[in-house]
Each structure stands twice: as structure tokens, then as C-alpha cells.
Symmetry: C2
Subunit: 214 residues, 2 copies
């Protein structure tokens, strides 16, 4: 069975996956780049921007797993664009003409639009309905491979609450954002459904994994 997987999802110690005051200039609001600097420092992060080098440490080992056997990504409206992107017919995501997904991407939104075919294998499909509806559409597009749940915070929280996630890799970054979108709100008792591991990195972040109990 295809798995629904979350990778490289970064939160502050106080549980915020993004800050406040999101905009086109500040996709993570007042969090800036701080939630993801651990990833930019890795070889994986360097390659995302076509650069050489980068660390080959435990952070990189976790980071690269995000693409293994993935056939589709599901992302929420809040990951696809800044508030109001639905009113801009030229908006095609943050990632330029050749987005780093290279698979179909299901954008979970109440906004109806035709698919957008990008370079490099990425096509954005705009899908309405319940999380289960969205997952069914993603499964059709995945070609038997796994499904990455890419964020944002609300989408991840919604799918965890609906018990539609098989694996989650959450990166706890040693900062306190104080405000923003909280990942864990309302998710009581995840330990009943998941085996949890915790791995600290010399970089200062702590990798949490949640694997569905068999």
C-alpha cells in the first residue's frame, strides 16, 4: 500500500511551523529562514539551489529521504502561495518555471483552477473536498508510489487529525517563535497511533519521527 509521508517539516520548540505576517516577501512570516537553516546547510539543501558542497551529517541523511519512492505531493493552499494567490491568475507557485517536485502536485484548496504544467515533470492540480477526497485523487496520480504531504501547517495538522498519515519526520529547531501556526494544536494522544523516536543533531536541531504502529 502507498504510504502517506511527511518529511523535513520544521517547527520551533514551541511548536510553530510558520510565523506570523506571511507575505510574498516572507513566506514564513517573522520566522524568516530560521526554521530551515538546518536544511540549507546540508548537501541536499545545497543541491536544491544547484550548489556544490553542504554537510553529509545526520541532517542530510534525514533530508534526502524526502524523495525516496514519492509519486505525488499534496500541499495546502498556504504552501502554494501567499495569502491572496487565488486572485492572481499569473501565480504558479514560489518555485520558478522548474519546481523541485518533478511529480504531480495536488494543491488542496477551495479555489478551482485548471492544472498548471511546469517544466521538469511538475504539474499542479487544484483539488477540492475532504482530506479523504484529496488523498484519493493523489493516490490516482501517484502511480503506486508513496504520497508526500508537504505542508503547510494547517494541512499537516488536518491530515494527522484525520489519521491519514503513516510517517512523519518533524524537525524541532531550537528557537521559540512565540506566535504563528501551531502544528500540534488539538492532536491529543498521537503516541497511541505512532512509535516516536528522537535524534539530536550536532547542528542543534532534533529529529522526531512518528511511525504508525502496526
Amino acid at each position: 500500500m502507498p504510504q502517506v509521508r511527511i518529511h523535513n517539516f520544521s517547527i520551533s520548540v514551541d511548536g510553530f511551523g510558520t510565523g506570523e505576517l506571511l507575505s510574498a516577501e516572507a513566506p514564513f512570516g517573522h520566522a524568516g529562514r530560521r526554521l530551515h537553516e538546518w536544511m540549507f546547510a546540508t548537501q541536499f539543501g545545497h543541491q536544491l539551489f544547484g550548489r556544490e558542497g553542504g554537510s553529509l551529517d545526520v541532517d542530510n541523511s534525514f533530508a534526502v529521504a524526502t524523495n525516496d519512492g514519492i509519486g505525488v505531493e499534496i500541499m495546502g493552499a498556504g504552501k502554494f502561495g501567499p495569502p491572496g494567490w487565488q486572485d492572481d491568475p499569473t501565480w504558479q507557485g514560489w518555485w520558478g518555471p522548474n519546481p523541485p517536485f518533478h511529480t504531480p502536485v495536488v494543491v488542496y484548496t477551495q479555489h478551482e483552477a485548471e492544472p498548471i504544467v511546469m517544466e521538469g515533470g511538475t504539474t499542479f492540480h487544484f483539488v477540492q473536498g475532504s482530506p479523504t477526497d484529496v488523498l484519493a485523487r493523489a493516490t490516482e496520480l501517484a502511480g503506486g508510489l508513496d504520497i508526500r504531504l508537504g505542508g503547510g501547517v494547517t494541512t499537516v495538522r488536518t491530515f494527522l487529525a484525520a489519521d491519514l498519515v503513516d510517517y512523519a519526520h518533524i524537525v524541532q529547531v531550537p528557537i521559540w517563535l512565540g506566535r504563528g501556526e501551531s502544528l500540534w494544536q488539538g492532536l491529543e494522544g498521537l503516541e497511541d497511533r505512532y512509535v516516536v523516536t528522537s535524534t539530536p543533531s550536532p547542528s542543534g536541531v532534533t529529529h522526531l519521527t512518528l511511525e504508525r504502529r502496526s
Copy 2:
């Protein structure tokens, strides 16, 4: 200079230091014993209850540090008793005739009462005022030794917000309480004031330390 230290302060992954529905029968509400089972399993935890045995692992190493060089404890009204203890003139804390503190204890409360002298060196002093006032009184009682900030959640959060804490050992337990009293609420930017470390234990908990930047 005496240091203000927090030790063995346990929170869920979602940041709750206690659950909901606190009572005399359930001091941590719906959290039950789950936040502190890691400590009960250690030799330190066994000795608290006069028992032999217990683990000598990293959890124990962290746990025992709570008493090193401590001259006084500050605790909030919510640690001293269940809601309404102020109306019970016979209430002398949760811990029986010989509490495990063996030092003066400053109970931070708006309730005025005479000190209560217990067996074994523990005396409860009831102190009103601001956090700074409470700390001044504790410092007088500490005899030059350090000051343990013992909780509960609101007291720890208040002292962290007032920048009165030198060291904090926080134990993140792999459970999601979903509701209760949140430790981190409103504490933006602690990383500016503290060096943070993260140490996972084979028991499943993760020890966080916050040490004031020099």
C-alpha cells in the same frame, strides 16, 4: 551569585506541563503519571519513595542534579495544592509530614498565611508580590546557595518571561496531551538568552537544557 535553576520539569511534545481537570486526586489532571514516569524509573525516583533499585542511565544523571547546591525552592500556588487549597486550613502540601525538599520553600501565592514547619528541614513560607519580590525573599532564605524553581507551569513561565532563570532542564516526553497548561506560551526568542542542548534518552524522553548566555 546564586543561580535560579529549574530541574526535571516535564512537558509533552505539544508543550503542556500539566493536563486539564486538576484535583486533589489528580494533581496533573488527565496527564496522570505520564509526564513523570521517566523519573519514577530512575534510582533517584525510587529513592524519593524509599525504594531500592531504579535505572542509572542518562535520565538518572539528569534527575539527581536537582538537589546539588540548592538552598531553597520557589513553587507556585498550583504546585503546593489543588485548586482551593487556600480555603483548607489543614492543607500542608502533597508530600506528607516529611516533604522531600529539606530546605525552606517559598510558596508564591496571593494567600497570606504563617509559615508551616514540617519534619526534615522543610518550612513552607507564603510570599506575595512580584516575581522579583519572591526571588528576593528566596535569596534571603537560600543561605548563599542556589534557588530551585519547582513549578508549576505558570510560575516557570512567569519567571522565564521576567528573565529571572539562569538554567532550565526541561524533559520532553513523547506524549501529546492536547490540553492543559502550556509552558512556552508567549516566550518568543528564548534562544537569544539561552544556549540550548538536546539529549535523547533510550527511555524515549528528550532532555533539553537552557543555559543563560554569558
